[in-house]
Amino acid sequence: MEVDRTSHELRPMTCELGHLSRSDGSATLTQGDTTVITSMYGPGDVRISKEIIDKATVEVTYRPKIGLPKCSDKLKERLIRNTCETVILSGLHPRTGIDIILQEMQNSGSFLSCCINSACLALLDASIPLKYLIAAVTCCISDKGEITLDPDLKQEKKSVAILTFVFDSKDFNVVTVSTSGSFSNEQFQSCLMACREASKHVITFYRESMLKKLSKSV
């Protein structure tokens, strides 16, 4: 699916909520061709060794399309867990576990942001108490210095740096930053501005998706 778009637009997003019958919340998010299925359970029981006395334990498991999770996948898990932990009001459910399981379906670039957005949708579907929403946007800098938002794999390969920003929905402050490659301070700032602008579209998308889901049940 190659749609004509300017470099400052996100790829088209679609999602399905609550399609898994056994989990407490589930979401499939497609951004362009990148697809992630998220299933989540919680607030449920947790192993005694991982129990925290005054807040919920958040656990994230990432499953790649083929093979076992690698070392880099563990890093991704950790990044997503830390991001989710900051927004979940975990003090409301002490001594419980909130498990998020991400399954890669297709990786066509901007994968980390798709994972985080999918996790946020699953949290919404399960009605877990949250401080605010999070919206992740990836962008890349080409060798000519051009910034492309939400790049696909081809664009990512050609780029010199890839940056992923996560913003909150309240004041659009940065929650998480993950970067690879080299870039200048000015480039970082302009990427940040571009991604912040784009994250507003992600929040609007969340709102539309939830409205669609609730119109069915109410």
Binding site: D24, G25, Y41, G42, P43, G44, D45, V46, V87, L89, L92, H93, P94, R95, T96, G97, L124, A126, S127, I128, P129, L130, K131, Y132, L133, D168, S169, K170, Y206, R207, M210, L211, K213, L214, K216, S217, V218
Partner: protein, 235 residues
């Protein structure tokens, strides 16, 4: 009344212009709303609801049950431990049910409860920091319909929203079903419904009616119940 009642709110959204009670100048915040300094924020996604004079809450569809004090629930006894039973109610941890909390139970006279029994009970303690505790008696020491459910029937699992819908006085489902057949039912707020009809056929029919009626309006429920009664009668 504020015009934002009935619209969608997502976590982190600000709610303004809430109507306070005239006498006390206070607002009552229900589930899904929280206060941060002077601001009132949403913490769960859903529709904002309002009840006179000053109660606000967020109506959000949730699959997982979280115990609330006073809720009547259906649980399954999983373990006998000394002077308490452990009961699975579908929450994050199992609740306890003291054997003394049954009608007519004394230290000598223990109630007849076995592992695997279904109990209809009410939460006497439901606190996020403590283990939830159930009782099968009201404040006068009467069972009041609660206790162990025996003699067959069927335990159906459904969404918590569905239970709220069934228990809504405006909903016609149980009333209409009751016109055509006799049945006993117990509805637990934890998304479990126990039904026992006169025979297995009728029990299955009632369970099927419950299962399909989640997203139906009252008119649709009425016509569905009519069709069901006709097919049970053999038309």
């Amino acid at each position: 009344m504020a015009d934002h009642v009935g619209s969608l709110f997502l976590p982190g959204d600000l709610i303004q212009n809430l109507k306070e009670s005239e006498a006390t100048k206070k607002i009552l915040l229900g589930p899904g709303l929280r206060q941060e300094n002077d601001l009132i924020l949403t913490s769960k996604p859903g529709i904002l609801r309002f009840r006179e004079p000053n109660v606000y809450w967020i109506d959000s569809p949730q699959k997982r049950y979280v115990p609330v004090k006073g809720d009547a629930v259906l649980g399954i006894v999983t373990q006998k431990m000394g002077d308490v039973f452990r009961v699975d109610v579908g929450a994050s941890e199992s609740a306890t049910l003291p054997y003394i909390a049954f009608e007519g139970a004394t230290k000598r006279n223990r109630p007849d409860v076995k592992v695997g029994d279904i109990v209809f009970a009410r939460f006497s303690v439901a606190n996020k920091d403590m283990e939830a505790e159930l009782v099968c008696i009201d404040k006068h020491g009467r069972s009041n319909g609660m206790g162990v459910i025996r003699d067959g029937g069927f335990l159906h699992h459904c969404s918590i929203n569905q239970v709220r819908k069934i228990l809504n006085p405006e909903n016609v489902l149980l009333k209409t079903l009751g016109k055509n057949m006799k049945f006993e039912t117990a509805v637990g707020m934890n998304g479990r419904v126990w039904v026992k009809g006169r025979n297995i056929n009728e029990t299955i029919a009632i369970i099927n009616a419950l299962a399909v009626s989640e997203f139906m309006t009252n008119e649709q429920t009425l016509s569905m119940c009519k069709k069901l009664a006709d097919s049970l009668a053999g038309f």
